[in-house]
Symmetry: C2
Subunit: 268 residues, 2 copies
């Protein structure tokens, strides 16, 4: 059992909270029973699983740890309460924290089915908002989400958490804006920019064919390059305060509108 | 200037974080330039405004304080940095915190226009979710929101904050479930329960006539009494994880669907 707060592995885990260390080490953190289950279901390989029994709160935690020990190429490391408190990112942890190699989610690997529905998060800043966008994308069954590097890192532990693990169940890529725009053009995907300055309402956009919904940042919205490259600009109706709807709620509304237009074919 | 952390008024402000003290004192807290502006615009009377210049961050703060001093029946109390840090509820405060008498928001005072659209928050637990529901209600221009006492208090400082002040711009009432149900029946309002167990999709509900959307708690959803009393039960489509959509997202989607069905008559 690791009990020293000075242990080199403990220090490495703490480093992975920062994007630059995740990028240089090619590793990221997944904390929590539910999130780790989602990652395992999505075949994300785990390298190390840190466990602390005192924090176990989910009834199936021991079963999952045992299963991983028997079936996965993983190192399982029990740690003391103090060490776990140090490496844990969230409040009310449930005693599981995994280190996993960053998936090579590449734009050109994204599968494009006929009439595919995509969401492009060009610059979402808040982890909670990006997590919510991923949850909505999961609920409506999008074919993929592209997260541009200008925004928060989709492998940020708070995004993994806020997404409730849907970051692993939705096809996600991390990409530069240029490669996303080239990909959209190459596949003949209709791009719909969500921007409060548009004349048309989002309900007037045709989201039945292959399309990508473009969402900007919380404060500045979509930048000029995204707006100029888009095929159509739409807005949500608002009779209230100018900015009462945030980017995550706007994305949620647009994704469910796309699902409504497409009918209940694929919905449960 | 109040500089003592032991000052009786300072202690009273801290007490008001708790619902039972808000209820016994008939007072609540409004923190932040934006939220206080919304309250003033909505003619919520303020009793005391605590100010701390060192935290002022909005360019119009001094103008607002001066205006209140000249035009409102309010006591303006500058406090020291330490005192403000003690009474402040939020992170990154902007140096303004007001105490206001709790509005007498009563069910029977709610104006019911023809084809009114209402949202009933029967038991929302998390302040952030209730705040988001109020923001969406503001955006689509609902005619009223009823917040039942089973959930979090709508005058909780975190709700006021998360609503970005829309708690003051949307017609809100606080009520017991029985009086909300009686009011719905009396006004011939069609009540639509959002519940994952429904057969029908929310898009099949007719939300053009007078209607109320019923939302339950984060964990248990709507209770049996609400489900049995409702005219119709609907669900959101989901192909993803069972609970990937939370109550605030579901309310937002349903409110925008109502707005879509009603056309853009009232939208800007």
């Amino acid at each position: 059992m690791i009990t020293s707060l000075q242990n080199a592995r403990v220090k490495q885990v703490v480093r992975l909270r920062q994007r630059r260390h995740r990028e240089s080490d090619g590793l990221f953190l997944i904390e929590g029973y539910r999130e780790i289950r989602c990652a395992v279901d999505a075949r994300v390989g785990l390298k190390v699983l840190y466990t602390c029994e005192q924090f176990f709160s989910h009834s199936d935690t021991r079963k999952l740890v045992r299963w991983l020990g028997e079936n996965a190429d993983i190192s399982i490391e029990p740690v003391s309460r103090d060490v776990f408190a140090k490496i844990s990112v969230r409040e009310n942890s449930d005693g599981l924290l995994a280190v996993a190699p960053s998936p090579a989610w590449l734009m050109n690997d994204m599968h494009v089915p006929p009439n595919g529905l995509f969401l492009i998060s060009t610059a979402t800043e808040k982890p909670g908002n990006l997590g919510t966008i991923l949850r909505s994308a999961d609920a409506v069954g999008v074919d993929g989400v592209a997260v541009c590097s200008a925004g928060t890192d989709v492998l940020n532990p708070s995004v993994v958490r806020a997404s409730l693990g849907t970051v692993f169940s939705v096809p996600v890529v991390r990409a530069e804006p240029e490669s996303v725009r080239a990909w959209i053009k190459r596949h003949g995907i209709w791009s719909i920019a969500a921007t409060p300055d548009a004349d048309r309402l989002y309900t007037e956009a045709d989201m039945v064919g292959p399309c990508a919904i473009l969402m900007g940042s919380e404060h500045a919205g979509l930048d000029g390059e995204w707006l100029n490259s888009s095929d159509e600009r739409v807005r949500l109706p608002s009779v209230g305060q100018a900015d009462s709807i945030n980017v995550a709620m706007a994305a949620t509304v647009m994704l469910f509108e796309a699902r409504r237009q497409r009918g209940s074919r694929r919905t449960s």
